[in-house]
Symmetry: C2
Subunit: 341 residues, 2 copies
DNA sequence: CAATAAACTTAACGCGCGTAAAGTTTTTAT
DNA sequence: ATAAAAACTTTACGCGCGTTAAGTTTATTG
């Protein structure tokens, strides 16, 4: 089997001219069925593929799509990224996955290296509070970008995420309906803007239901939420700061730490009568099913968030990067009842 | 600020000839300090960067490095990937991260798309049993590849991983020394070759210590280890198949499922006298600290595995992809004592 | 069947940069 | 100071492919 060096050679072997072969690779449907057949026949025989660097150099727009998540070691983002990847591939694009690993410096570097990738578009889940707003703004001005998960007001052509109010209202109402209204457990300086929205939603829902909101803020920086939740919970439990027998954690990773602390302290958590405490949370983290006890939580609509994100990006790409005004799409949560509350 | 279009323009603005500017970008040290200064001055003023597609098309070898992990939703791999990424960047390379998501088809597709990236080298953690050996063999023949985490005998220029015997011998010896020798809890058809090595090590160590090995094999396919461990443990506990009061799980993710099952069944796990069962494991998964109880486990030498992997790849790249024979490097485990055993 | 449209071929240029050759300037060594 | 070495400049080609223009073949249509 001869080694094909370039499209010229391949075209010769297939018996079709190079411009037509080029056209075929751009869109197989754009050539006559008979020639398509001949090309594909040759393709099977000789295993040639266009040099992506030459292709991308000459095309005005590449088929690359950047996917950026704030913290890939969080399985939640790994799962979303997976879905996004698959959708891009299915649409004929080449996704590249990046993680900011919780650091602003890295997020900026990723934007930088994305620029040189000349992507057709970017799906960006920003760090949130830690993001360098001006850098992201500059980036969005040059590259069609759809934000997801964390909203940065006004940035990107669209935002797709979850409706934090829907999360919290469902968990609060459920806990209230089946027991005592919960305290809210969160980080004092949350990395993610969703956290703030969740706190506000908690306060609002409690007010509406006629209860006194009770927010517990714990210290800690960074993305080691389990550890922060663990330490914070130990402190709270130790100092008896908890004034309710039910707790709503801002997110599942904090809850994982919280439950670990309860276990260590011998506090029985659950909805059964012999339990001292009920703990619920938000996100439906992949591990939420395996906490002890398993975690009652409000689940993201993973599939819809991911699907709508790529959909929005593709629309954006087709409309040459501009047109309509910025849209925000929020998907409601689905309450998942397990043992913890 | 004028927009620079290409190196020609930038060279003119900086007052240096294009070939010299090209040389500078290839290696800043290769030009005279005075000219370097002039280029860098212009660089600050005009913010130009070479078109990576044009660069990669003409360079015989790109600065790309592929990083492939079998399952990115496993935080263990996310962490390793992070370290590998950073090391590559520090060495002046451009890493691209891929996850096979546990599927052979995807692993093969990744290899395919890596080929067109023409990477200088690839760091590959294969699926293991599910890998398409012949495909990987073909790939390694064309691209300098270092395997890590999972060894496929004979494939790749080098393998860097953990010494499974060291893992198991430490956990078994510890459990035996402080209590009863453990049963071994694993999947019947493990996805990963490390699992087989761990079972063999378990049997060997038990023999050596003069105990009867007791291997519990549970059903399940795929990479949802927590769920598999959970179901398997429920079955084992329910049917009273456990003949010891101590269990060594093949890996932490199974152990997470096992512990969840114990919790549900009201079985107290831990090393304290009031506990009915001791559970230990292998890997030191990022969440092992937050299980209930926290998990005693043998920790990978993350940093060394990752560092040695990139080191081996860089050596390989410098030696033009061949030379010496295949090496296997194994790092021992570090026993992490927590509450579960 | 001719007329028209659609798809093709040939020829040629350009993309932005690597790189080589030949000549010139600057630095270093003697 | 002079010779040699090192670094530079100019010139020019090539990489593999997108793309366009002009001419040719094939398919479609009434």
């Amino acid at each position: 089997m001869t080694k094909i060096k370039n499209m010229e050679e391949f075209a010769a072997l297939s018996g079709i001219s190079r411009p037509t072969v080029s056209k075929y690779f751009h869109d197989p449907e754009s050539v006559r069925p008979s020639t398509r057949a001949r090309i594909e026949e040759a393709l099977e025989q000789f295993d040639y593929r266009p040099n992506i660097y030459a292709v991308n150099q000459n095309r005005k727009l590449t088929k690359n799509i950047g996917i950026v998540v704030p913290y890939l070691a969080d399985p939640f983002f790994a799962e979303i990224a997976r879905y996004l990847e698959q959708s891009c591939i299915a649409a004929g694009y080449r996704p590249s996955l990046f993680s900011s690993h919780g650091e602003q410096k890295l997020e900026n570097e990723i934007l930088d290296s994305l620029r040189s990738l000349k992507p057709a578009g970017v799906l960006l889940a920003p760090l949130g509070r830690a993001s360098d707003r001006s850098q992201i703004e500059k980036f969005c001005a040059n590259v069609p970008t759809v934000l997801f998960d964390s909203n940065l007001e006004g940035l990107g052509a669209a935002f797709i995420g979850s409706d934090n109010f829907s999360f919290v209202s469902q968990t609060v109402e459920y806990m209230t309906r089946t027991g005592e209204p919960p305290s809210f457990f969160e980080m004092r300086t949350p990395a993610n803007p969703n956290a703030n929205k969740r706190r506000k939603a908690y306060v609002e829902v409690m007010d509406r239901l006629g209860f006194e909101p009770h927010v517990i803020k714990i210290d800690g920086e960074g993305w080691a939420f389990e550890e922060i939740g663990h330490q914070g919970a130990l402190k709270v439990l130790d100092q008896g700061l908890l004034r309710t027998d039910s707790v709503l954690c801002s997110n599942d990773r904090l809850a994982i730490g919280f439950l670990a602390a309860c276990y260590e302290q011998g506090i029985r958590v659950g909805r059964r009568p012999d339990c001292a405490l009920r703990v619920a949370s938000n996100d439906d983290h992949p591990f939420a099913k395996f906490t002890c006890p398993s975690l009652t939580t409000a689940a993201h609509d993973y599939d819809n968030v991911a699907a709508r994100s790529v959909e929005a990006l593709f629309e954006l790409i087709e409309n040459a990067g501009n047109s309509g005004k910025r849209t925000e799409t929020l998907f409601p949560a689905r309450l998942v009842l397990r043992e913890s509350a």
